[in-house]
Symmetry: C2
């Protein structure tokens, strides 16, 4: 649900309200991508979304709630498309599957500029950090299941491996996005090579 009841002051009933909320979230994503969360004002969001601040605050209790709603929208979408690839089963080659997952994450990252500042650069936002961590734990869990099937490692070690791998992919995709455009394909290829070499070294 995009309309999380705990983060919303009022759940929009009519279509007009729902469109308002959607427009506000879209606008917030754009503005955050361009200027960073701390540098975007609620008045700016409202104005850019063709709403009055009063209207904005009818639905959102405070500024942070807007970010949280946006975060949840992103996370659900990403969880859905990654879930498909996780359930690809044993038909596909293991390493190809890893490559595909990296590609999916990378594509999502590039397609949603507002997504980036959601996990990095937002100190002191308890609830947001929490929702990001939930997602992270979820992904680690998915990979752990995958690795349990494909790698022969003691549980404890496997968890470390998974954490490091997920963390590397997450941070490197960010780094690739920030790098010069001409370098991106090469960097993405090397990222895949790193993961491949690492996982292979665990199979000997």
């Amino acid at each position: 649900m995009t309309d999380n009841e705990t983060t919303m002051r009022k759940v929009p009933q009519r279509k007009r309200g729902q469109e308002r909320v959607k427009k506000i979230l879209d606008t917030t994503a754009e503005l955050i991508a361009a200027h960073g969360y701390e540098n975007v004002t609620t008045n700016q969001i409202a104005s850019e979304a063709n709403a009055s601040i009063g209207s904005l605050y009818q639905f959102f209790p405070n500024k942070d709630a807007i970010l949280m709603a946006l975060s949840e929208r992103y996370l659900e979408e990403l969880r859905a498309i990654m879930g498909e690839q996780f359930n690809a089963g044993e038909a596909i080659d293991f390493f190809d599957q890893l490559d595909r997952l990296i590609d999916i994450f990378h594509d999502f990252y590039m397609d949603n500029p507002g997504f980036k500042p959601m996990f990095y650069g937002s100190y002191g936002l308890e609830s947001l950090t929490q929702s990001g961590e939930e997602f992270y734990t979820d992904i680690v869990g998915q990979f752990d299941i995958l690795f349990a099937r494909r790698l022969n490692l003691p549980d404890e070690k496997r968890l470390l491996v998974t954490m490091v791998m997920v963390s590397i992919v997450k941070t490197q995709v960010t780094m690739i996005d920030e790098a010069d455009e001409s370098l991106r394909p090469g960097l993405l290829r090397e990222l895949k090579a790193v993961i491949r070499a690492y996982i292979k070294s665990l199979m000997d």
Copy 2:
């Protein structure tokens, strides 16, 4: 030089002034580590450093300048201790050398809590980003020289390898620092294993 003339309104002449500046930087590091840059006020810094705001602004033209001065202090120190290890020459085993460099960076990170928020989570601070990038470029350059001696790769590819490696170490050390204390030794070990596997895969 800690007393960078471009970021300082006035370079402290007397010992008292120099101690003031040092105390302000130390205090800023502590406060930033605890609450994040955006959440720390200049009045708070002054008060915590047993100085008046007026005194603070006698030396620093604005809040950002404090952060920049602090950043430079960190970067010089880190550059110095890493430089030693880079110049260890061919006497030491290549992989051991990489491990040592990772350890050095990790130790520095753990010993200087104010260092972390300096590179992550500070959107919209042009000059700071720039000084961090300079440092990054410098380190990549150092590694590139090292790799040129040890690996047989075309220049273009070697640069990509170096960038990815430095970036991974940088981000993973951050991640390790944020992880639960009991996991840290394991995560650090895996980080080294990743780098080792990756570099080894390039030597075949």
